[in-house]
């Protein structure tokens, strides 16, 4: 067994175990921490695939940003020691059946299909190439989605501030008029 295979096995095991723990844990903070492990193992998979930049983005944005945001909101809204009630067995069984059925369908489709690889030489995705593609308007340029995503981020930021602002929105409207 090569090193990369061993690493893949470890990451896959971590991802599967901790994602099951994320959706079944009855203590909310434990669920958040196991989500963090899942996201870091995913970053490891990106390193295995040789996408260093995206792995770094994954760690800083997901593990550093979103999980911290989630933990903050847990601390603001829930009792840490509070334990969720167990899921009703009827709902639990039907959900397991639905997701297992979907997983079986997808996995059999994957295994029956033969994938044909492109014979092109592997391009090395380095920072230089990423920056140039993100800002170029040519054939391999992504400047339009880049600009759209920046507008989306500004809109999300303003929306988040406006929604989470203190005070009832009706009162604010009256004051403004």
């Amino acid at each position: 067994m090569e090193g990369s295979q061993i690493m893949f096995a470890i990451f896959a095991l971590v991802i599967i175990i901790f994602s099951v723990f994320t959706v079944t844990s009855r203590k909310i903070l434990r669920a958040a921490v196991s989500l963090l492990f899942v996201l870091i193992a995913t970053a490891g998979l990106y390193f295995l695939l040789n996408y260093q930049f995206l792995a770094a983005v994954q760690i800083t944005l997901y593990a550093g940003g979103i999980v911290v945001l989630i933990i903050f909101s847990i601390l603001l809204t829930s009792q840490i020691s509070h334990k969720f009630e167990a899921v009703e067995w009827k709902k639990s069984i039907f959900s397991v059946l639905a997701s297992a059925f979907g997983a079986v369908v997808v996995i059999t489709t994957i295994l029956r299909h033969t994938f044909e690889a492109d014979q092109a030489i592997a391009a090395e995705v380095n920072m230089n190439l990423i920056g140039k593609s993100l800002l170029s308007t040519g054939h391999d340029g992504y400047v339009l989605p880049f600009e759209v995503i920046s507008i989306l981020l500004v809109a999300a930021m303003i929306g988040a501030i406006a929604i989470a602002k203190k005070g009832s929105p009706h009162k604010d409207l009256k004051n403004n008029n």
């Binding site: 990369s4 893949f8 896959a12 599967i16 994602s19 099951v20 959706v23 909310i28 669920a31 958040a32 989500l35 899942v38 995913t42 998979l45 295995l48 695939l49 040789n50 996408y51 995206l54 983005v57 944005l61 997901y62 979103i66 945001l69 989630i70 903050f72 909101s73 603001l76 809204t77 829930s78 709902k91 959900s95 639905a98 997701s99 997983a103 997808v106 996995i107 994957i110 994938f115 044909e116 690889a117 492109d118 092109a120 030489i121 592997a122 391009a123 995705v125 593609s133 993100l134 391999d140 992504y142 989605p145 995503i149 981020l153 999300a156 929306g159 988040a160 501030i161 929604i163 989470a164």
Partner: protein
């Protein structure tokens, strides 16, 4: 590179992660845990994009950029969702989806 791991392994791993997220989405009753299930689903899709890009079209970069934009959208979505959750908590004093039903007809 990476010839030691077949493409199917990545796809099966992403499938398992995706349907674990679906299970959590169906059974959880707390808004934050539902949000965590959505993050799991988005992540599994990213793994798929990158594996396809690396194994089937190694000379192109579409999958790489698509997952970059998916991550950006996920960040925006999480920020807005948590603002809404905190506002709901302020108004109802709970974030359980079964008790927040004021607009239900």
């Amino acid at each position: 590179m990476n010839s030691g791991i077949p493409l199917e392994f990545f796809l099966i791993l992403a499938t398992i992660m995706f349907f674990t997220g679906i299970y959590g989405f169906l059974t959880r009753r707390n808004l934050i845990t539902i949000l965590m299930s959505v993050e799991l689903i988005l992540n599994s899709v990213n793994i798929n994009f990158l594996a396809f890009n690396r194994y089937l079209f190694p000379g192109k970069m579409e999958g790489h950029f698509f997952s970059l934009f998916v991550i950006a959208v996920a960040a925006a979505e999480a920020a807005v969702a948590i603002a809404i959750i905190i506002n709901i908590y302020r108004r109802f004093n709970t974030i359980n989806v079964e008790t927040v039903d004021e607009m239900k007809y």
